[in-house]
Subunit: 130 residues, 2 copies
DNA sequence: TAACACTGTGTAATAATATAACATTAATAT
DNA sequence: ATATTAATGTTATATTATTACACAGTGTTA
């Protein structure tokens, strides 16, 4: 469950845009879309994105340099994320699997190290594209 | 096991550099380092990197925009990768765990979809930095 | 051998992604 | 109220990656 954060004006504008979107949005596409609301510079966008990622409202899809709203209400740790990505239509879906997150959170490497933060991106073809 | 590929001159120069490195290398750092060998332009580097990734000789660390040689000789699928990344010293280690790769290769999402390609990046502190 | 496809190269220009530096303002805490 | 922290606005710049075009090598095949 997300801790409640009161978003600032810029954060809210940018979160709303990402949240409404059916696909991950890139920073400069966001910038273009919010210029009419007074957000003029890349840095304003990146600062809001950084904060939104930090508080777990959005996630960055690293392989795509794009941002998606978190729709995983059972997400305990904002930084333990898993996605599936369609290599044709680029549809991205956040995976919420208790089994998967449990497995990864408990995974130990050769040195016995555990990691509470991770990012997993699966690639394949979605239903429609198969 | 990697299929054998005869690397071209540029690919070999760039692979050697990455392979010798103890840390992931960024494209423009590679460019700087191979300029004395006649590779002058970013595109020459990116083309070699693309090919090396494609044939599984190197992997891209997506969260860092950096490239590391594959040291996972049991790697069946070049595109099923897992790494641990130290958030302090930025040390990156490729994880070779039969259990993990089996678990992920067999993972099914809600729609019953399986994914043979994935990229997993774990974040935490390495032994030295704890 | 010529025609073709395929892969790689070289070069210049530019696009796309992200941060540094600095001045200012708003919000929060004691 | 004032010190502190977080957010903003703005300009400039750094970093990462691709487009476009000309050409060279290799192998196939017709």
């Amino acid at each position: 469950m997300h801790k409640e954060h009161t978003l600032t004006k810029n954060q809210q504008i940018i979160f709303d845009l990402i949240d409404k979107s059916s696909e991950p949005l890139k920073a400069y596409s966001i910038l273009f879309n919010v210029q009419k609301k007074g957000i003029k510079a890349p840095l304003q966008v990146y600062r809001a994105l950084d904060k939104l990622v930090e508080i777990g409202k959005i996630h960055k899809i690293e392989s795509r340099n794009a941002f998606i709203a978190c729709h995983n209400s059972s997400c305990q740790v904002a930084k333990a994320t898993a996605f599936s990505i369609c290599e044709i239509c680029e549809k991205v879906t956040e995976i919420s699997s208790a089994g998967l997150s449990k497995y990864l959170a408990n995974f130990k490497d050769k040195d016995g190290m555990k990691y509470s933060k991770y990012n997993l991106e699966f690639f394949g073809l979605c239903k429609k594209c198969r």
